[in-house]
C-alpha cells in the first residue's frame, strides 16, 4: 500500500443517506476472485440503465465529477454487507476519501485497510459540503484535518493506529505477525480451548 499523506481534489457529492454496499457494488459482481477492475461496476445500477446506456443525470457521470478523488456522501455511508469489494471499487474508480457525518463500521474498517480514507465530520461542515458540490478540498492525513475553500478547517477523528499505517503505507498484518509470541502464549495459557 502506498503512503497516504495528503489529498487535494474537488468534491463529487452524492447527497443520499444510508448508501448501502449493494449500491456501491451490486452482488452480481462479487463472483470475481481478484480485487482489480471493480471500478467499472461502481454504483453500476445508478450509473447505467438496464440496456447499458449511461444515466447522464447521475452525479458520477457528470463531466465535473471526472478526476474528483473525494466523495462527499449522505449520512451512514457504506451500510449493509461486509463486502470489501465496496472500497476496492471506489479506489479502482479513483476515489481516495469519503466524507460523511456517519460511516458504517465494517465499511470504515475495510476502507482503512486499503488506503481509502473514511472521514466523519460534524454535521455543519458536512451540510455545507453537501450543499456546495465541486469545491476544492484538502485533506491532511497526519493532522486529521479537512481544509475547506477559504481556509476554514474541519477536524475529524480517526483511529491513531489506522492513521499511523495509512501515513506510512503499512500493512496491518505485519503488526499482528510481530505479536506471534504473545498469540502462542495466549493459546497455551488460556483457561479453556475452543
Amino acid at each position: 500500500m502506498d503512503p497516504l499523506t495528503k489529498i487535494e481534489s474537488r468534491t463529487v457529492v452524492l447527497d443520499v443517506d444510508d448508501v448501502d454496499t449493494d449500491q456501491i457494488i451490486p452482488a452480481r459482481f462479487l463472483t470475481t476472485t481478484s480485487r482489480d477492475g471493480l471500478g467499472e461496476h461502481l454504483f453500476r445500477d445508478w450509473r447505467y440503465r438496464e440496456d447499458g446506456s449511461r444515466r447522464d443525470d447521475f452525479v458520477l457521470n457528470s463531466p465535473a465529477a471526472r478526476d474528483c478523488s473525494i466523495l462527499v456522501a449522505g449520512r451512514n455511508f457504506g451500510c449493509g454487507s461486509s463486502r470489501e469489494h465496496a472500497p476496492w471499487a471506489l479506489l479502482d474508480y479513483g476515489i481516495r476519501a469519503v466524507i460523511s457525518s456517519e460511516i458504517a463500521d465494517i465499511f470504515r474498517s475495510n476502507s482503512l485497510k486499503n488506503g481509502l480514507l473514511p472521514i466523519v465530520i460534524d454535521k455543519a461542515p458536512h451540510d455545507w459540503l453537501l450543499q456546495n458540490p465541486g469545491v476544492q478540498v484538502g485533506i491532511d492525513v497526519a493532522a486529521s484535518c479537512v481544509t475547506l475553500p477559504g481556509g476554514e478547517t474541519a477536524a475529524y477523528s480517526i483511529d491513531a493506529f489506522a492513521r499511523y499505517c495509512l501515513v506510512r503505507g503499512l500493512d496491518q498484518l505485519g503488526f499482528l505477525q510481530k505479536h506471534a509470541e504473545a498469540i502462542t502464549d495466549y493459546e497455551e495459557n488460556r483457561q479453556w480451548t475452543p
Binding site: 447527497d15 463472483t31 476472485t33 451512514n76 461486509s82 485497510k113 499482528l176 498469540i183 475452543p194
Partner: protein, 469 residues
Amino acid sequence: MTAGEPRTLFDKVWSDHIVVEETPETPAILYIDLHLIHEVTTPQAFTILRDAGLPVRRPDLTLGTMDHSTPTTPVRTFKDLEIVGEGAARQVMQMQENCREFGLELFAFDSPHRGIVHVIGPELGATQPGKTIVCGDSHTSTHGAFGALAFGIGTTEVGHVLATQCLLQRKPKTLSIDISGSLGPGVTAKDLILAIIARIGVDGGTGHVIEYRGKAIAGMAMDARMTVCNMSIEAGARAGMIAPDDVTFDYLNGRPRAPKGQDWEAAVTRWRALCSDSGARFDKTVSVRGEDLQPMITFGTNPGMAVPINAPVPEINGNASLRKALDYMAIIPGKPLTGTRIDIVFVGSCTNARLSDLQQAANILRGRKVAPGTRMLIVPGSQQVKKDAEALGLHDVFIAAGAEWRESGCSMCLGMNGDTVPRGQLSLSTSNRNFEGRQGSGARTVLASPLTAAASAVRGCITDPREFL
C-alpha cells in the same frame, strides 16, 4: 474497569479473548475461536497468504462451506448441478482448491453438512457460548444468539485471521435492548427485529454490540433468537448477543461439535456465568414492549423502513430519502400495504430458513395453494434442514401447494447464484435486506416473517398472517 465491578456479557467474552490490550496508540489483539469461510469473500484473502508464503495458523478452528454462489436448483445427484455463470463456477472451484492447498475442512457440494454458513455453524454445535466467531459476512451476528461474540469482517481481515487467528479491534460500545412481555399470536422474532430496527434506525447500533434481554427473549427458541441476532447488522451494530440459558444448552447438547461427557458438564458450568451481572452498565439502553408488537412489513429500500402490516405507509412530508425509496418501490404513501399484489415469495436466507421457519410456513400452506400468478420458492438453510423438513413431510406440503422446494443456499436473498427477481417485480422475502436491486437488478423487495410470506403466497397479495391462525 476495576475488579469486581459488574460486567456485561459482552465485556466477559471480550476480555476473555484479549491477547494484547488496546492502548491509545494501538487496537487490542483479539483471539478468534471459530473462523467460518465461504467462497465469495475469501479468494483474495488466500492470495494474501500465498503472496506472503504464509500457512493457515489454525486449520482446526477454520470451517468452510459454499453457499452464496451455489445453485439451489433441485437435482437428483450433485454431479448434475450446474453453476450459473463463469465467475461463480470459478469461485467455487477456487474455494475447493484453496481449502485443499491450505488443509481446511470444507463442506462441498456432496457434503450433507453443507449450507448457509450461519445455519451450519449452530447446527453442527460449532457455534458455542463464549466463543469469538468471525466470517467474511455481515450476518455473522447470527451466532451471537448463543452468547458468542460474533461479527462480520472484510476480506483483508479474513486474511489476518487465517494467518494469525487474531484481529485488531477497538472495543465497541454496548447497547441493551430489553424486550418485555411475550409476542402475540402471529408475531414472530422477525417482526420483533424489524420493529426494533424501525425504532432505532439502520444506524441506531453503529459502533455498538447489542445485548437482547428480557422475558420475550427468554421465551424464544434458538431459531427465533438467531433471527433476532442475525439482523443486528441491519441496525448498524457490530454484533448482537443473547445470554445462554437452558434453551441454548438443550439445543447444543448432542450436536456433532458440541463438547461431550465431562467436557460437556465443564462447558455448561462455564457457560452459565456468561450473562450480564446485575448492575452492569451499558452505554445505551432501549426498552420494547413485546406484547404491543404486530406483524411487520417493510415498504422502502432499507430494513428500517418498516410498519405494522395494517398500518399506513408514512407520508413523504418533504423527506427526500423516503421519496426516493417509495419511487423505487412504486408504493403509494398513506395507505397500508395489505392487498398489494406480489409476484414472488421467497422463504429462505440465514434470517429465516431454519426448520421452525419452514414449519411456520407449512402450517399455513397445508391444504392450500399458492395463488395463480405468484411464484413461491422455499430454500432450506442447509442440507440438514432440508433433510429434517423432508422427514416431517414439509416438502410434500410445499410441493402440493405449488411452491418450489429447492437445495440449500443463500439463493434469492442476494441473487448471486442465478436465483433472481426480475426487474420491476415485487418480491415478499423472509431475508434481511430490501436494498435497491438486492434480489436482482431492478427488483423490488418487501421483508416479512415466514408466516406473512406463506399467508401472502396463498392470497397472491400482502396479507396479515393472523387471518390464517
